[in-house]
């Protein structure tokens, strides 16, 4: 992996919550990560391993501890506000409510999303051309949403909302796409639909993607690189070659070797 090809560089990333109190948690512990352009990384790890915190640092929800660096497309954006990170980073959250605005229509939600990273002005937020774009982005979902542009998003099902959220995260083609267990709250059929759509968009747009999942099978099926996190550290990092042909049992063995822990299936969310 050559340095200059990196789309995202994380250096010395740490995050400590409730510092100096008895509740102090080291959620991230000196993380170094290089993500190449067009990489599709899946991240697994037990509950509380720091996966969401890592995405929050990349998305600029909060800055890393002093000394850490977040560099995207060659721009050092460490400590910038979240809305500035958004220029480079599209996100889909576990909860569909976070990624969409309930009281606004499908069209208005997409109109917000299509202007990511661009200055907003006094032009009408939607026009015929944009509506066409929205329709063609929604049609591949086969949820009939392209004919419901004027429906309030709050009236859609969770699955439909999450599908809209995915389209919103990708419609402006941000440099990096972050998915945080984005199908965990959906019924199996809708989850599969959203995963398929994710695959289509990521492949079509050659989008650099980081997908957090608690499902080992998904982590092996999708992407070209697999990362395991444990107690705020990256403990396993497998490239496409190393990953090929691995089974879930191999992953468990790798986890136990790297973390020095027995893998206990119930209380960690690494489900088969």
């Amino acid at each position: 992996m050559s340095q200059n090809k990196s789309l995202l560089q994380l250096r010395g990333i740490a995050k400590i919550f409730s510092k100096g109190t008895i509740d102090e948690v080291t959620a991230l512990d000196n993380i170094k990560l290089d993500v190449n352009a067009e990489d599709y990384i899946t991240i697994i790890g037990s509950n509380g391993a720091g996966k969401t915190t890592l995405l929050n640092v990349i998305g600029g929800v909060f800055p890393p501890e002093r000394g850490g660096k977040v560099i995207i497309s060659g721009n050092d954006i460490t400590g910038f506000s979240e809305y500035k990170h958004a220029t480079y980073v599209g996100r889909v959250y576990q909860d569909p409510h976070i990624g969409t605005a309930a009281k606004m229509t499908v069209e208005e939600n997409l109109a917000m999303a299509v202007l990511r990273g661009q200055p907003r002005g006094l032009r009408p937020a939607t026009n015929k051309q944009r509506r066409e774009l929205f329709r063609s982005a929604l049609a591949p979902l086969s949820l009939g949403l392209e004919d419901r542009l004027n429906a309030q998003v709050g009236t859609l099902s969770s699955g439909q909302r999450q599908a809209v959220a995915l389209v919103m995260a990708t419609i402006s083609k941000p440099a990096l796409l972050l998915l945080d267990e984005h199908t965990a709250n959906l019924d199996p059929r809708t989850a599969q639909l959203v995963l398929d759509l994710t695959e289509v968009i990521v492949q079509r747009e050659k989008m650099t993607t980081i997908m957090v999942t608690h499902n080992m099978e998904l982590a092996l099926r999708y992407g070209n690189r697999l990362i395991m996190m444990h107690e705020g550290k990256i403990v396993v990092d497998l490239n496409q070659k190393q990953r090929a042909g691995l089974t879930i049992d191999d992953l468990i063995a790798a986890f136990e070797q790297a973390s020095g822990r027995r893998f206990i299936e119930d209380n960690i969310l690494l489900r088969r």
Binding site: G59, S81, E82, Y83, K84, A86, T87, R91, H97, I98, G99, T100, A101, A102, K103, M104, E108, N109, A111, M112, A113, L115, R116, G117, Q118, R120, G121, L122, R123, P124, A125, M168
Partner: protein, 304 residues
């Protein structure tokens, strides 16, 4: 009899248009931004006081009226800054502004009130142009209608633009808006400023209409605005930007109509606050009862 009905209706129409500006201001903060802003009581008086003092000092009534928008904008901006930069809760920021503005209004007027008797107001200027007698209700309605129409068309356009859409989305899902690259703090500032600018304008119009500005003129304005918004929503059940704005004005008209009728029926002015409270409760109960009858699930009340 018909005369009385006509009088009551035309007077309520005028008041509905003017207080409709306050209602739209409250609608913008409370409903669009989900920011319960109590600055309104202070910024309304600030607008009235500023315009009255400027007119008394020889400024033409039109720029003097526009100045009320300016000072209202500034008041709203400060409330927004307290909330976004100092992270004060919205309610507290508004209460502090309301209290602080009371003293500022006394300073602006150099006393508890400023009389506009024998001063040329915006109404007089318009009466001159129209060739109508000063103090005629037709003039009052013309002025109020013109202002409300301009405000309606500008807002109805603005809230559909890219910036306006982001403003509306901020009140719906701030986290989402930020993750789409919008500085939501700026939107809160802008929304509070616009809202209080409108409220200041209403104060300026009312002061000129009644012939004085008074330090107590804004007391209860937030409740009146709230009542108007809620009555408008209950009666018209609006959907879409234009109707939401019109519902705020319509709600203000109905509210003023109820109040005027109550007064005509011989209720004491002191009872009006109770009537207002009961009206708001009834207007809020209507959608609740409607849902209950349809066995719909009703979420628990918010507690900000």
């Amino acid at each position: 009899m018909l005369d009385i009905v006509g009088n009551v209706l035309s007077f309520s129409f005028y008041e509905g248009l003017v207080f409709g500006l306050v209602a739209i201001g409250v609608y913008l903060t409370l409903r669009v931004l989900a920011f319960p802003d109590l600055t309104v009581d202070g910024s309304y008086t600030l607008g009235g006081a500023t315009t009255a003092v400027l007119i008394v000092n020889g400024v033409h009534p039109f720029p003097a009226t526009l100045a009320a928008i300016g000072v209202g904008l500034c008041a709203g901006l400060v409330t927004g800054l307290l909330n976004t930069k100092l992270r004060l809760p919205a309610l507290l920021a508004g209460i502090l502004m309301m209290v602080g503005l009371y003293s500022i209004n006394l300073r602006v007027m150099g006393g508890a009130n400023v009389s506009l008797l024998r001063q040329v107001t915006a109404f007089d200027k318009v009466a001159e142009v129209l060739g109508l007698s000063h103090g005629s209700i037709v003039v009052s309605i013309t002025v109020a209608l013109a202002i409300a129409a301009v405000v309606f068309f500008i807002l109805n356009w603005f809230l559909r633009t890219e910036i306006g859409l982001a403003l509306r989305a901020t009140g719906d899902n701030e986290q989402m808006v930020r993750s789409l690259g919008v500085d939501t703090d700026k939107n809160v500032l802008m929304g509070c400023a616009i809202a209080n600018g409108l409220v200041g304008l209403a104060g300026a119009v009312v002061a000129q209409g009644q012939g004085f500005a008074d330090v107590g003129m804004g007391i209860g304005m937030i409740v009146m605005g709230l009542a108007s918004v809620i009555i408008g929503e209950a009666l018209f059940r609006p959907r879409g930007m234009a109707r939401l704005l019109l519902a705020a004005i319509g709600g203000a008209f109905c509210y003023r109509l109820f109040i005027t009728i109550a007064l005509r029926l011989g209720m004491a002015p002191g009872d009006l606050k109770l009537i207002t409270a009961v009206l708001v409760v009834i207007a809020l109960a209507v959608p609740f009862i409607r849902k209950k009858l349809r066995h719909e699930w009703i979420p628990p009340a918010v507690r900000w």
